[in-house]
């Protein structure tokens, strides 16, 4: 029982830490804005770029 639960906890932790680290890392200068057109056709909701775009739109 224990190894399974611990493993899942570990994997979750690893993912979230890497996610947070990635979010903290700023994109290189001049590349923070992504061409919205290039993103348009894709329906992927996990895409962080799409999120940032939406957030910017909302602002």
């Amino acid at each position: 029982m224990l190894p399974g639960i611990l493993f899942v906890c570990g994997a979750v932790g690893l993912y979230m830490v890497s996610f947070a680290l990635n979010k903290k890392t700023a994109a290189p200068e001049g590349l923070s804005k992504i061409d919205a057109l290039k993103c348009g056709a894709c329906q992927n909701f996990a895409c962080t770029i799409k999120q940032t775009l939406e957030e910017e739109e909302a602002v």
């Binding site: 190894p3 399974g4 493993f7 899942v8 994997a11 979750v12 690893l14 993912y15 830490v17 890497s18 996610f19 680290l21 990635n22 890392t25 700023a26 994109a27 290189p28 200068e29 590349l31 992504i34 061409d35 290039k38 993103c39 056709a41 894709c42 329906q43 992927n44 909701f45 996990a46 895409c47 962080t48 770029i49």
Partner: protein, 202 residues
């Protein structure tokens, strides 16, 4: 085990079991990111990179961690989380260290977390049981080579499909109701038929 195993693995993953056309993995980016040849190539490069790394990580994870601990049942969640973190880490490193690489791959990397081809190949490498066929060590190389071949196949199809699509979009004599996605799907179907013919290559 000989070199022929690797060549067989590469060709069969690339042509005979083409991820997109014959196994339906990664159809979303296939239709979504294939409007321009340039973006299709960018996506293919990102997929190649992540697919190989993901195969190289998930295979030992399964055989060195999950199996000895007898927790094979967490495979699905383990793989998706590992691949997702991998993508995040790769994106972070690219952001930090290579502006050029980020410029060409940056848009596509985040899409890859939920690309079924990556997870699909990782799972396939386990269910195809290379470890039993070749032993755990050599099986690792076969798994990585298979992933590479699959990514090559993805790139090949993406490139040719986007080239066709660029012309399709310019075609004006198409019936209106077929324009856009429907005709693209028909083209993909014809391409799949063509790829069926490659079945006897290995």
């Amino acid at each position: 085990m000989t070199w022929t195993v690797f060549f067989t693995a590469i060709f069969s993953a690339m042509l005979i079991n083409n991820v997109v056309l014959l196994r339906f993995l990664g159809v979303c980016p296939f239709l979504g990111v294939s409007k321009k040849t340039e973006s299709a190539l960018g996506m293919s490069m990102a997929v190649t990179f992540v697919m190989v790394v993901a195969a190289a990580v998930t295979y030992p994870l399964y055989y060195l961690v999950l199996k000895p601990l007898e927790i094979e049942y967490v495979q699905t969640i383990a793989f998706i989380l590992i691949i997702a973190s991998l993508v995040q880490l790769v994106e972070m490193f690219i952001k930090k260290f290579s502006k050029k690489l980020y410029k060409s791959l940056g848009i596509y990397l985040p899409l890859i977390t939920t690309n079924c081809a990556i997870l699909g190949i990782a799972v396939q490498n386990i269910t195809d049981n290379y470890a039993d066929l070749y032993g755990i060590g050599p099986g690792f190389f076969v798994a990585v080579v298979t992933a590479f071949g699959a990514a090559l196949g993805f790139g090949l199809v993406m490139f040719s499909f986007s080239s066709i699509r660029e012309r399709l979009d310019a075609a004006t004599n198409l019936p209106e109701s077929w324009r856009g996605v429907p005709v693209s799907l028909i083209v993909a179907g014809i391409m799949a038929l063509a790829f069926l013919g490659l079945g006897g290559i290995v």
